[in-house]
């Protein structure tokens, strides 16, 4: 039994959890989420560099919640989303167990938000090279080029809203796209309809996105969505000095007033 499986087994044996959400090999040679509801299935639990889905998205799924006490296998992005949803009062300390995988692939059981915060500080990684390059390329474009770049990208969008479904922070019970009185986001997939959606999506995640990249991986037409929120995060960090997913008591800058907040945008 691997160390990961040992930790999981112990959680089941002492009755701490009813369901564990981790990774296993799938029939297509990849890995996918596995939902283990008794210790007999624990031998299917694995972790390797192919395990990238951010499983915290399942924390808000009604049929998963119904199981009762949950444990998640999470790496850095997953843990960041835990802190972010904690700061948004969606999860309380002790609501779930986290088997954290550090940057060397070793598992450890984290009990509370403090441990998660320390873990994150000690396990920082850089975003993948390809992404950084693309980001740099986009940032070096002129404003017109950048507009053209995103217009082209958005024109591919089929508005499946998968980017929303897979995001651990898109948990609203009623998404703004689904509200029709008034119709904020036009329903059709067209240049304007797609732009509507992408502005809303990016703005609703600005300063909240923890950069797991799930939206981008899910997108069937490969729009580099995470770059939008990453750039918005950057601006927010510059102006307000804050970064999401680092602290459970993070004060989301766009909804919290601080005395030292700049007022230079008020003209």
């Amino acid at each position: 039994m691997t160390e990961l499986q040992n930790i999981a087994k112990k959680l089941f044996d002492d009755g701490s959890i009813n369901l564990l959400i981790g990774y296993s090999n799938n029939e297509n040679g990849g890995t996918s989420a596995i939902f283990i509801d008794n210790s007999a299935d624990i031998d299917k639990l694995i972790y390797n560099e192919n395990c990238h889905q951010n499983l915290m998205v399942y924390f808000q799924k009604p049929e998963v919640k119904k199981f009762g006490k949950l444990a998640f296998v999470v790496s850095l992005p997953g843990l960041k989303s835990v802190l972010e949803i904690a700061s948004e009062n969606q999860i309380k300390d002790g609501d779930a167990y986290f088997i954290a995988i550090d940057k060397d692939g070793n598992p450890s059981l984290l009990q509370d938000f403090h441990q998660i915060e320390d873990f994150i500080t000690n396990n920082q990684t850089k975003p993948p090279m390809g992404l950084l390059k693309l980001m740099e390329k986009i940032n070096n474009m002129t404003r017109e080029e950048r507009w053209q770049y995103w217009t082209d990208e958005f024109s591919k969008c089929i508005k499946c809203y998968a980017c929303r479904s897979v995001c651990p922070l898109c948990y609203c019970t009623q998404c703004i796209t689904d509200i029709n009185i008034p119709q904020w986001i036009s329903t059709e997939s067209s240049p304007i309809g797609n732009l509507d959606w992408h502005i809303a999506r990016a703005m609703h995640l600005a300063g909240r996105c923890i950069g797991c990249g799930e939206c981008m991986k899910a997108c069937p037409v490969d729009i580099p969505l995470a770059l939008l929120t990453a750039n918005l995060n950057k601006s927010i960090a510059i102006h307000f000095g804050d970064e999401p997913g680092m602290k459970a008591d993070y004060k989301y800058p766009l909804s919290h007033y601080k005395l030292e907040d700049k007022e230079n945008f008020i003209r």
Binding site: N26, E27, N28, G29, G30, T31, S32, A33, F35, Q53, V57, Y58, K61, P62, E63, V64, I158, K159, C160, Y161, A162, R164, S165, V166, D178, S186, T187, E188, S189, S190, G193, E214, K217, A218, P220, V221, D222
Partner: protein, 335 residues
């Protein structure tokens, strides 16, 4: 009708050039190592050795957003006009046999009780040149749903690469002959050949008759929940699928000017069935997953005599949570 011809790759290029000026040609194109159907005007832009595109070609018939009519307000009344759904004849060049067969399903579905005008007009101007599969991946399962990698079902012309640069051509329909007539001397007559040695080997993953029976008989089962816990209801599977036909009708514009459009929709979404009162007939994801599977293998058989899955594997490849329709069918086969 069925007659058999040969064409060299070079001549196929010329054939394309002959078709191109008078027709809109949609073909698979590579973008960042993935394949998408796009309008093409150069033969070189077509990917001839792809396994499968991310999205199906159904949008040629049933676009993501389809204008049903436009309205304009004038003197307290409304004027209504209908844009033509298709201008030029449209050829889908190089779609896979599974996709070609999906058009048989689509035309049955949309023209059965009420003839859908947009779809009907598009079908009349649609030509399908399919390309038999040299290669498949482990998401492909056409052979499990009554098809095969060289099936001519739904095609007007079917091409199979038999030697390095020679394609074996089957003229399946009158429309196929019409295309050949653009430049008939590029083709050479031949006899019927056995294509099986030139095509991909796609192992059969389940027995469709058995699957239908099993899925038919199981409505309440804890397996539906267990099997669908990973599903997030994102809808990619339906949007990628060549035979998913659900839609929504919405108005775009103001009370003065605008259009009524039909947008794709998916039974995977929780809002799909939700009543204005808040009551939801399928409130949880497992019920929506069950509906998808049962629709594909049971309900559409009952209504149209056809299963609504052609085994293209798109839903499997593109699901962000690795849900797998084949696995589900196999699970129920094991019950």
């Amino acid at each position: 009708m069925n007659n058999y011809k040969l064409i060299t790759k070079q001549n196929l290029h010329s054939f394309f050039d002959a078709l191109q000026p008078k027709n809109t040609i949609i073909a698979p194109k590579e973008i960042n190592k993935k394949y998408y159907f796009k309008p093409v005007d150069k033969f070189e832009d077509i990917a001839l050795d792809y396994i499968q595109t991310v999205l199906s070609a159904k949008s040629v018939l049933f676009p993501r957003s389809d204008t049903l009519f436009n309205y304009h307000r004038a003197d307290g009344d409304y004027n209504i006009d209908e844009p033509s759904p298709i201008e030029k004849n449209t050829i889908v060049f190089g779609m896979k046999p599974c996709d070609a067969s999906s058009f048989v399903y689509l035309s049955n579905f949309f023209l059965k009780d009420y003839q859908d005008k947009n779809i009907k007009e598009r079908l009349e101007k649609l030509y399908i040149i399919s390309l038999s599969c040299k290669e498949a991946d482990n998401a492909c399962f056409c052979t499990s749903v009554g098809s095969n990698p060289a099936s001519t079902k739904g095609s007007d012309l079917n091409l199979t690469l038999i030697e390095n640069d020679t394609y074996y051509v089957e003229v399946v329909t009158e429309k196929g002959q019409e295309l050949i007539n653009y430049s008939a001397d590029l083709f050479q007559d031949t006899k019927e050949i056995d294509k099986s040695k030139y095509i991909a080997n796609v192992p059969q993953k389940f027995d469709v008759e058995q699957a239908k029976q099993n899925i038919d008989s199981i409505f309440e089962s804890p397996l539906w929940v267990k099997d669908s816990l990973a599903c997030l209801g994102c809808g990619i599977c339906a949007y990628a699928c060549p035979t998913c036909t659900c839609f929504d009708i919405q108005d775009i514009g103001s009370q003065f000017n605008g259009s009524r459009v039909r947008n794709w929709d998916s039974c995977a979404f929780d809002l799909f069935t939700k009543h204005a009162s808040g009551h939801n007939p399928r409130p949880v994801q497992s019920q929506r997953w069950r509906n998808r599977i049962k629709h594909k293998f049971e309900y559409s058989v009952e209504n149209l005599g056809l299963i609504s899955c052609v085994g293209c594997g798109r839903c499997i490849r593109s699901c962000p949570t690795s849900m797998n329709i084949v696995k589900t069918v196999q699970i129920f086969q094991g019950v």
